[in-house]
């Protein structure tokens, strides 16, 4: 077995173990929250009798460990169970919402990753020039504002003052691709502004770091032009840290967009999870957490594999 395949299998096994631990932690955390789904759904109109009827219907009168084991047994057979609040199948709820989240994340990533890497390379190429400074100041400023602030500013400028884009991103059922891209433009731009700086700075820093290496100096002495030095000689060796930071930001785009979803009323997975926590709909919370945790684990694994692929040295630890 090749060392890469062995590593992937090992990491996947560890990932599965992490998922089980995550689900256990989440289950206990939600159990610790005051109140349960019966009280939260009934709210002010909860009386002891209706709460008891509610609990009995959902099987919440069983002990917590028993409920957890039941749930885990279901998941291992591919059944995420039904929502406690609505009785709907969690699998299909999550697939629907996750598709929307992935679309928005993909949209933002398709703009921000090339943008950040290009800006990073250019900034490294024209280090300490006016261009470098403007790019740095602009991206660092946009990352410094909280997301909801950036979102509201974009709404004010592009939706209220000059009505170009809608302030509500939800595109309804069966939209065309163009409609989807148009409706989600503002939330995607918000995310782009928030994540670009991190990736851009990492690209710039790792290239500049390499520029001090003797082999770059050698290339220069051979008479290679600055652009070719960076693209041919520096960039391939800088890819590992860039890939890692891109993976981290992709994971953030998928799991950390709740605020953007609320501001633009976009029905993604984050919104589903927040609603479910508020209602103590523990089975849905678990399902969402598993998806989020799985995404983190897979993206990290992918980043590692790609790093190794671009730098085989990493396979052979000294």
């Amino acid at each position: 077995m090749s060392p890469i395949v062995r590593m992937i299998l090992g990491r996947l096994a560890l990932g599965l173990l992490s998922l089980v631990l995550v689900s256990l932690v989440i289950f206990m955390a939600v159990e610790l929250l005051p109140g349960d789904i019966a009280q939260e759904v009934l709210g002010q109109s909860a009386t002891p009798e209706t709460v008891a009827a509610f609990r009995a219907e959902l099987g919440l009168d069983q002990a917590a460990p028993i409920r957890y084991v039941h749930w885990l047994g279901g998941v291992l057979t591919g059944d995420l169970g039904n929502s406690l609040a609505t009785g709907r199948d969690i699998g299909s709820m999550i697939v629907d919402r996750f598709g929307k989240t992935l679309f928005l994340a993909g949209y933002a990533a398709a703009i921000s990753v090339p943008l950040a890497v290009t800006l990073g390379i250019l900034a490294a190429l024209y280090r300490n020039s006016i261009f470098d400074r403007i790019v740095n100041v602009a991206t660092l400023s946009s990352i410094s504002f909280p997301e909801y602030f950036v979102a509201y500013i974009l709404i004010l400028l592009l939706s209220i003052n000059t009505p170009v884009f809608p302030s509500i991103a939800d595109f309804g059922r069966d939209p065309s691709l163009g409609d989807m891209l148009y409706r989600t433009f503002l939330p995607a731009m918000t995310l782009v502004l928030v994540v670009t700086a991190h990736m851009m700075r990492m690209t710039r820093a790792s290239i500049i770091n390499l520029m001090a290496q003797p082999y770059i100096e050698m290339a220069r002495l051979k008479g290679v032009g600055p652009a070719r030095v960076i693209l041919r000689h520096a960039l391939p060796n800088a890819l590992a840290p860039i890939i890692n930071v891109v993976a981290l930001n992709l994971a953030y785009l998928i799991t950390g967009v709740v605020i953007v979803e609320v501001v633009f009323v976009y029905p993604g997975l984050g919104q589903l999870m927040v609603d479910s926590v508020a209602k103590r709909d523990i089975t849905v919370v678990q399902g969402c957490c598993l998806v989020f945790a799985g995404i983190y684990i897979l993206l990290n694994l992918l980043a590692d594999v790609l790093s190794i692929a671009t730098n085989p040295q990493l396979l052979h630890r000294k």
Binding site: G35, S167, P267
Partner: protein, 516 residues
């Protein structure tokens, strides 16, 4: 600034400026004649992914507004706050008000083609009764001893005791009528109703789509061809959606920014004086609140005008420590208004022998968004009377299960109920599940039963006036203010006078409003 203590709803109250801005759009809206056509898109608060269409558990969200358009009740609340017939052609009491007979409309047909029958009413009501139910209306329907069909067109309700206000109960939003599946149950997951709309699509916590029925039995209702209800829980996002034309109407305009919204051309504000109120219950069986002097001291140590001005920004009215506000039929306008009087508060403290009174007020923004501000202002007001209030902020999450009904002095919120009897029975009657101040008063409880059984309106008014006085001077509730309901709409929609009982024209805007 004078507060219009008129029980009728009126538009854009609070400040004279808002009234001037709000009025022209509304007048124009009222002049247009209703016609079939157009669409309505509503930005609605209170929706969640966990929403179901089950009438047993729904509360105050887009689902209820949609269901009130899909289905009908036996009775409905009109724009004057009165119960008027809906599916019940007539609803008549026996002489002792213990037996009520509803004659059903012969022309009401469900959207599946089935005619309305008495069995459907009974199945729909039974959904909220019995051991198994988890309905929020369970307590309300405990007064029904027996229901029976008298032929297909008549339902007879035998009550456990007389209730002159039973028609208002039948207008409760839980009690929408859906067809009996043949086994005495309703199929709430696939709602079928006698209303003017059918459900096209429901994505919980996102949107509901309704389409108009051509064969609705009400000739003067249901004008829009299509209606979309979108869940927009964030108040700023809701206002943005209205301003940018993404939706035509929104509920629950934030009082903090209502003055900004009123400046936008083409936007109308629809404001009604409501019976929603913000009480602070003190448990009358717990020291020091077991002494009425202490309760009276606290009731005199709060500056109501300032709370209305600062917490509600003028969009409300001062309260008088009793829940029967100006929106009620039996509101007593002659009951003297209690005012902020630190000296009197000190006097009561002296009587109680509690000159250095120290109490803890449990607060949160869960009951209403101004809860914490209200508690902090109260602390300052009470300090002038020598009362030290320790304001303790509780988490919003789980407030209703962990603080309310548990802590001796906390904050609460009530949307109000259609009748004085209902409000009193629910929160003030001895032994009521939600008697949040654990108050019992013999005379009050006696009057409550008498007034409920009395069919003579003049005598009832007298009894309710006395009860309001008793609650004001003896109960454990500080009720400093009533809030207004504020909705917003653009000039594409028109409406008549709106009902005062809920947001969005008593949650019935879907069938009552029309395209301008």
């Amino acid at each position: 600034m004078a507060f219009e203590l008129n029980r009728r709803s009126f538009l854009a109250t609070g400040t004279a400026g808002a009234a001037l801005i709000g009025l022209p759009g509304t007048l124009r809206a009222q002049e247009s004649t209703p016609k079939v056509g157009g669409s309505l898109r509503i930005g609605h608060s209170g929706g969640a992914t966990s929403d179901t269409l089950d009438p047993a558990t729904f509360a105050a969200g887009p689902v209820v507004t949609a269901m009130l358009a899909i289905c009908n009740n036996l009775m409905e609340i009109d724009e004057e706050g009165q119960a008027i017939p809906e599916l019940a052609q007539s609803f008549e009491p026996s002489a002792d008000a213990k037996t009520w007979t509803a004659t059903l409309r012969p022309d009401a047909v469900f959207s599946n083609g089935q005619k309305l029958r008495a069995a459907d009413v009974i199945a729909s009501y039974n959904h909220h009764r019995g051991e198994e139910t988890k309905s929020g209306a369970k307590d309300l329907l405990k007064q029904i001893a027996e229901m029976r069909a008298d032929g297909d067109g008549t339902v007879v309700f035998e009550l456990t005791g007389p209730n002159a206000d039973f028609p208002f109960v039948a207008a409760d939003y839980h009690l929408v009528i859906q067809p009996d599946q043949g086994d005495g149950t309703i199929d709430w997951a696939n709602p079928v109703g006698t209303g003017g709309y059918v459900l096209e699509d429901h994505e919980p916590g996102v949107r509901l789509n309704l389409r108009r029925r051509d064969d609705y039995w009400k000739a003067d209702r249901a004008w829009f061809e299509d209606v979309e209800l979108r869940t927009i829980n964030d108040p700023t996002a809701r206002q943005n959606a209205l301003v940018t034309g993404e939706v035509d109407a929104i509920n629950g305009v934030d009082t903090k920014t209502v003055h900004l919204l009123s400046r936008r051309p083409g936007i109308q504000l629809i404001e009604t004086v409501s019976s929603s109120h913000f009480p602070m219950p003190m448990m009358c069986d717990t020291a020091p609140f077991d002494d009425n002097n202490v309760r009276m001291a606290l009731k005199h140590a709060i500056n109501r005008e300032e709370l209305v001005e600062k917490v509600l920004r003028g969009h409300g009215a001062v309260g008088n420590d009793q829940p029967i506000g100006p929106a009620y039929r039996f509101h007593d306008p002659d009951l003297e208004q209690r005012v902020y009087d630190p000296d009197r508060a000190r006097h009561y403290l002296k009587e109680a022998g509690q000159e250095n009174l120290k109490v803890t007020l449990h607060t949160s923004n869960a009951p209403h968004s101004g809860g914490v501000d209200m508690a902090i202002l109260f602390k300052e007001h009470a300090a002038a009377a020598g009362i030290e209030i320790d304001v303790r902020r509780e988490p919003e999450d789980g407030y209703w299960s962990n603080v309310w009904l548990k802590k001796p002095f906390c904050q609460s919120y009530w949307n109000g109920r259609p009748t004085a009897d209902w409000m009193f029975t629910m929160v003030y009657a001895a032994g009521a599940e939600w008697n949040e101040s654990r108050w019992t008063n013999e005379r009050f409880n006696e009057l409550l039963l008498q007034a409920r059984a009395e069919l003579d309106q003049g005598k009832r008014a007298e009894m309710y006036a006395e009860m309001q006085r008793i609650v004001r001077d003896d109960s454990g509730e500080i009720i400093p203010m009533f809030g207004n309901f504020i909705d917003g709409a653009n000039d594409k929609v028109a409406h008549g006078k709106v009902a005062p009982n809920r947001f969005l024209d008593g949650w019935k805007c879907v069938e009552r409003w029309w395209a301008a």
